[in-house]
């Protein structure tokens, strides 16, 4: 379909969202990511039964920690879609991108820049 989505979205491949670890998400923010989102299969449609449900819980944990550290929980998000649903993938990418643009850069980055 070759639908366009924002170029600042980069994908890291996992066998199942059930493999994503809380620390993977946190590490990304620690290193300066402005937003992270996890894209899993539709709920109830996990090839490995319930991996995407575990992923959702971890995203929620990450959100709490990000809120607590002042980085902002809204910067992390879980989405579910079916593998063929390109338009929805694009919609989520745009949605996430707009949200992050609205939130601005990762505050850690701003602090670093200010210090420099």
């Amino acid at each position: 379909m070759r639908l366009q989505y924002p170029a600042n979205v980069k994908i890291i491949r996992l066998p199942c969202t059930g493999k994503i670890d809380l620390i993977h998400i946190l590490r990304a923010f620690e290193k300066g990511a402005d937003g992270v989102y996890v894209v899993g299969c539709l709920e109830g449609g996990c090839h490995y039964i319930g991996g995407n449900l575990r992923a959702r819980k971890r995203v929620e944990q990450a959100r709490k920690i990000l809120d607590l550290t002042g980085i902002g929980g809204e910067r992390v998000q879980m989405y579910n879609l079916s593998a063929s649903d390109g338009p929805l993938f694009v919609q989520y990418a745009i949605e996430m991108n707009e949200k992050i643009l609205e939130l601005g850069p990762n505050p850690i980055k701003l602090k670093k820049d200010a210090a420099a």
Binding site: I23, L26, E30, I65, L68, T69, G70, I71, I108, K111
Partner: protein, 222 residues
């Protein structure tokens, strides 16, 4: 197992707010099993702290180590060479580990990273419940395997009290009355006569009342 719960990160941040070199120290025993202080939690806490400090614009170095157990000298010795480098160590072990660390390494402040809760069991993942208060004088033999010391809110030894209604405790309606459980269990075992026996006054000297306790086993000492 000793059951601990994660300490609110805000509290931990308060402890170490002026530190520049921090060690987060996990324990691979009980606190790993109850998902409060194992290697994974060490990573998460360290990352959380790093983000906090970065967000304050302060440069802090945070290291991560997880020991097999923090309640044994030999394992604690493993950090002998590095302990001095830190101006704070956050121990994710139970209260025992934190204290043992503090006894061993005097030059560094040791802070607790978890709240140690009780001796309990994993009912299912994410649900732990208390089963023992370590009174030092076990009476489970006569109470059908259900402990009135840890499970009766009033620690009554000849229960139930008048507050037991429909099998629940008056302190909290979600709590089972331990004595109701004891009676049901003894009935099922056809041992109700044990219930009829009056329990004599318990020797509480082995409990906390006598101050910190010790177990001495000369037979195994070297």
């Amino acid at each position: 197992m000793i059951v601990a719960d994660k300490k609110p990160v805000e509290e931990i941040i308060d402890y170490v707010t002026d530190c520049k070199n921090i060690l987060v120290l996990g324990c691979n025993e009980c606190v790993t099993v109850c998902e409060a202080g194992g290697k994974k939690e060490v990573e998460v806490l360290a990352s959380t702290l790093r983000m906090c400090f970065l967000n304050q614009g302060t440069e802090v170095s945070i290291d991560e180590i997880t020991l097999e157990r923090q309640c044994d000298h030999e394992y604690l010795e493993e950090i002998r060479d590095v302990a001095d480098r830190y101006d704070a160590i956050i121990s994710l072990a139970c209260g025992v580990g934190v204290q043992f660390m503090a006894e061993k390494y005097h030059s560094v402040p040791i802070y607790p990273g978890v709240n140690t809760c009780f001796l309990g069991a994993t009912e299912k993942r994410g649900l732990w419940t208390e089963r023992c208060q370590a009174c030092g004088n076990c009476m489970l033999a006569i109470t059908g395997g259900i402990c009135p010391v840890s499970r009766c809110a009033k620690r009554i030894l000849n229960g139930p009290c008048g507050g037991s209604s429909n099998g629940k405790c008056e302190i909290n309606k979600d709590l089972d009355c331990a004595w109701q459980l004891i009676i049901d269990r003894l009935k099922a075992l056809d041992r109700l006569e044990d219930y009829e026996k009056i329990c004599s006054i318990k020797d509480w000297s082995t409990d906390r009342a006598g101050g910190p306790r010790k177990v001495v086993r000369e037979d195994v000492q070297s």
